[in-house]
């Protein structure tokens, strides 16, 4: 894992001091709210329905157990004993006091963490595949590029007042777990003609009011040219992105308006100049950062390599193994998903006790390392196969062994109207009711992979466009209403879901989801997953069943 040196530490420490000064000026009246607002957003501080909300970055989703304990402590000391893991590898605290925010940033800085650029019209926290470094088929660890981007984008003087927010994600596997095509810039690390890693750069994806799957703008960018290409892309956006209309200000609108070819040409022209302007990272610096991501020392014993492992005669354990563990690069190891989606629970929420528990388990079973996923779950990336049963037993005691990763109750939900000042409708209660409806684990496993994603407004923080079943909350004459979309995907086969028909009430939407699932079970071919079935038959059969009843 990356470790701060004295420079990195000085940067976050200085940031804390700077923000302390800004908060003091705000409280004294020297700074107006209008002028303070963009500054507090640059430090992840929002004003939400009930209080300030602080969004803390977990760059590319990687955490040490020590950092997780700090996150737990912050929840206890400054908040109400819990935090919310978001869809962008961040954690949010909901009950923050402005006057305490600088102290929280100081606590974070002490464990090499920050809230820098987790909001505002800047390059946001860079995200990556949560299986980075352990995924079997990846070209190289995408966190190397992500850490380079983190440093380059931190306090970038030219790009701190962009037309709108800017999100970058990196993946290096043919299986895309980082939804790169739904980002302002998505980077897929691929092999060039000679077999060396290079970057496919997708630009102009996004969800929100106008969803787009990003087109490929640059194929096989040489790795050494990453920063000059990013500078060129951001400069074209900063100069020509729209600033007159907040809904048209994202780069996706510029890419769409110019057309991907013309946009690519403009970036290419700019890049031919930036690449000569000493913007690229010195090779020795790339090597320095790369070294931090060398694989840890794996130690396996015969038991880890054996076909059989302890506990497999327990069907509950087997069910968990089938959904919540994945193949690891190193023989004898598994990747474990800890579901933060207990039946009827709040997706992504974790209490202080749970965070501390996961930190302890990471120390015992996963070389002290934890990952955070954009699907609002946690990962223990390095678990020896012979210890899976022991880990599962401990997770069960902590209520963290729900065997539902990737299943119908593994729902993504944004905070919605329960917390968010921009919301039109609540998201969390819908997730809870659907989860309760499908509580039966056997039923979930027989339905198979199904991703439900819920947003409380068109901003789409709950990724509803990319849900196999997407749910969007709207306000219809003061009442919460929910539209259903079908057929979205945030994976390598990215697609935008299409609206099924008229919306449903809060109760009705739960029934509707069940009808959709039952329809799928009736029409699927052997072994056919939900998304494949929807793509084969279209929305028609689902519409018929849904709206015939009414």
């Amino acid at each position: 894992m990356y470790q701060y040196d004295a420079y990195d530490q000085a940067m976050v420490d200085t940031r804390v001091a700077e923000f302390r000064d800004q908060v003091a000026r705000r409280l004294s009246g020297a700074l107006s709210e209008e002028h303070f607002r963009p500054l507090r957003l640059l430090n992840g501080l929002y004003l939400q329905l009930h209080a300030y909300m602080l969004r803390v970055a977990i760059p590319y989703g990687t955490l040490t157990s020590r950092q997780m304990r700090t996150l737990a402590d912050i929840a206890e000391k400054y908040d109400r004993g819990y935090g919310h893991f978001t869809t962008r590898q961040n954690i949010q605290y909901n009950w923050i006091k402005l006057e305490q925010a600088p102290d929280i940033l100081a606590d974070l800085a002490a464990v090499q963490m920050h809230a820098i650029q987790t909001s505002g019209n800047v390059i946001r926290n860079v995200t990556a595949d949560h299986f980075a470094g352990v995924a079997k088929d990846e070209v190289e660890d995408p966190r190397i590029a992500a850490e380079i981007i983190r440093q380059w984008s931190t306090f970038h003087p030219e790009f701190s007042f962009l037309p709108r927010k800017f999100k970058i994600a990196v993946t290096a596997d043919t299986k895309d777990r980082a939804a790169v095509k739904f980002h302002d810039i998505g980077i897929a690390i691929v092999k060039d003609a000679k077999g060396a890693p290079a970057y496919d750069v997708y630009v102009g994806g996004g969800m929100g009011r106008t969803p787009f799957v990003a087109p490929l703008i640059k194929s096989k960018l040489p790795k050494t040219e990453l920063l000059s290409y990013l500078d060129a892309t951001l400069r074209v956006y900063n100069r020509y992105g729209r600033r007159d209309n907040i809904y048209k200000a994202r780069i996706k609108i510029l890419v769409d308006a110019l057309g991907p070819e013309e946009f690519a040409r403009q970036v290419e022209d700019e890049w031919q100049l930036t690449r000569q302007e000493h913007i690229n990272l010195p090779p020795e610096e790339e090597a320095r950062i790369r070294a931090f991501f060398a694989p840890p020392a794996y130690t396996t014993e015969a038991a880890d390599l054996a076909a059989n492992m302890p506990g497999t005669n327990d069907p509950a354990f087997r069910a968990w193994l089938s959904t919540n563990t994945h193949a690891h690069k190193a023989a004898g190891y598994s990747i474990v998903t800890i579901s933060l989606k207990p039946i009827g629970g709040i997706p992504g929420d974790a209490s202080t006790a749970e965070m501390n528990r996961v930190a302890d388990l990471a120390d015992t079973y996963s070389l002290g390392e934890i990952r955070v996923t954009h699907e609002q779950n946690l990962i223990l990336p390095h678990v020896r196969r012979s210890q899976l049963h022991a880990l599962w037993t401990e997770l069960k005691t902590a209520g963290l062994a729900v065997a539902n990763a990737g299943l119908v109750t593994d729902i993504i939900a944004c905070p919605g109207l329960d917390y968010c000042a921009l919301a039109n409708a609540r998201s969390i209660p819908i997730a809870q009711r659907i989860s309760e409806r499908f509580a039966d684990l056997d039923r979930q496993h027989s339905v198979g992979e199904l991703k439900i994603k819920i947003s409380g407004c068109i901003n789409a923080c709950g990724h509803h466009h990319a849900g196999h079943i997407g749910i969007l909350g709207v306000d219809r004459k003061g009442e919460e209403f929910y539209q259903i979309l079908l057929g979205g995907s945030g994976a390598e086969d990215a697609s935008i879901g299409t609206i099924l028909g008229p919306g449903f009430s809060a109760d009705g939407v739960v029934d509707a989801v069940e009808t959709i699932v039952n329809t799928y079970v009736d029409l699927r071919q052997p072994g056919e997953p939900f998304l494949a079935a929807v793509r084969r038959v279209g929305n028609g059969p689902f519409k018929e069943r849904l709206y015939a009843r009414v």
Binding site: M11, D21, F159, F161
Partner: protein, 168 residues
Amino acid sequence: MPVFDASGLVDDHWIVLGDADPLPAGAPVLLTWERIARDGEAAFAGRDPRGVAISSDFDVAKLLPLLPRIGLVVVKPANFKDGRVFSVGRLLRQRYGFNGDLRIQGEFIPDQVPFLVRCGYSSFEAAPGFDLDAALRLLKVFAFNYQTGLADKNIFALRHNQPAAGRA
């Protein structure tokens, strides 16, 4: 409105001319880009320094042939969130090698001054009520920076004991 640079308030000796005002002799004058575009060589009559005022959406490449004869570029943002001024600064300094005075005029806030300096701005003309003390204090806050290609203390270079490349 008062003008300051990184060391504090400075005397501003530039005379702002409207597009119809006659050119005075023996004084540095600030003209709009529109006037320079309209008058061509006549706008540069005499040997006095010329300044040019542009808006943040101006295509700075147009200034390139004139830069050797220009002593001041004044950039006006549409509002304090108008981040185009930063690109304008970097292009003028880093790409086109402008080494006169680069000034922002109008709406910006003290907390942006360090970014403006890093993008090449050398003087500042703020609206009334601007917190000059804060701006000068903030300029001293960050000792290092990550971005390469600028003339400030670059961490990537410092880590490997190299001089920072680039200019600003």
